[in-house]
Symmetry: C2
Subunit: 151 residues, 2 copies
DNA sequence: TATATTGTTTAGTCTTGACTAAACAATATA
DNA sequence: TATATTGTTTAGTCAAGACTAAACAATATA
């Protein structure tokens, strides 16, 4: 790997770290995703810690987090003792499913509120209805994207 | 407003607070959005502080934040001195525009990385290409949603 | 069995940023 | 002009959680 390529890889990893942080996730989780994206895997547990210069505890916590999100998976290698990690086969499907889960919760909250409030509050009723329309549209779009990624 | 309705309103406001917090935004910002959604506005600056039981400093900071996001707007009332706030007319368009801004940045990062890395890294090249496809699909969906909300 | 390796958990530190109270600046009103 | 009102800014507190080091448990290997 050329020096220039190394720089690009490092930069990408850090960018992913910042992207994740902006989404309210740990920076290390983003770095992990970046690394698993941009370099040939799978990576051994210890490799990850050394490569990203973070503690093994952080690797343990954040690999678990990403596993739960469904975007990475823990695999084994014949003859090897430790765990290895790689991007899951369909990380974006899991991501979209997670987003839709949260959207559906928010949608349910809006519905519940609209339901419980007097129909005579025209302004509020219509605002809540518009909020629901927004959520529904977003959810539908995600479903469509899921379908197109599946094919 | 009945007691039951009051409860629903309070619950909705708190739910919005938690939703915003999950997105990495201040809880108070979410509470503000919830309040402006579910009760007739516009609200005076001081009213907001009292109603949500938070300091005026927090109102100042978070109304500015939400104004910058384009989801609320500051308005005046004839004969009144202070500022008033209400949901902007098209909060979801602003929201979607903001999301697409971030997605486009992430997309650009992925492209830049793929560009700079050797074409011979087949695995990595294709992973980055898939990432780009995902971002592009998401962005297109949002644009479509924007259009449908505009009409 | 003893030792090494590996991942998780725990205890504690440190940073970030949400939040408040109070000072402040600007403007309105008396 | 003096006083009151209003929103912003500043200084400081506090809490959440990201992160680490080390203890630990489990398993493999010698």
């Amino acid at each position: 790997m050329t020096k220039k390529e190394q720089e690009i890889v490092e930069q990408f990893i850090e960018q992913k770290g910042m992207e994740y942080q902006a989404e309210g996730l740990p920076r290390i989780a983003g770095r992990l995703m970046g690394l698993l994206l941009i370099e040939e895997g799978p990576f051994a547990f210890g490799e990850l810690a050394e490569r990203l210069q973070v503690s093994r505890g952080s690797i343990s916590t954040n690999t678990r987090l990403l596993e739960n999100l469904g975007v990475i998976e823990r695999v084994s290698k014949p003859g090897k003792r430790g765990d290895f990690f790689q991007q899951s086969s369909e990380p974006y499907l899991s991501l979209l499913a997670g987003i839709n889960l949260r959207l559906n919760r928010a949608l349910a909250n809006a519905k519940q509120a609209r339901d419980g409030l007097s129909k005579s509050r025209k302004k509020v009723q219509s605002r809540l209805a518009r909020l629901e329309t927004f959520y529904q549209g977003f959810i539908e779009n995600n479903k469509r994207l899921i379908q197109s990624l599946e094919s």
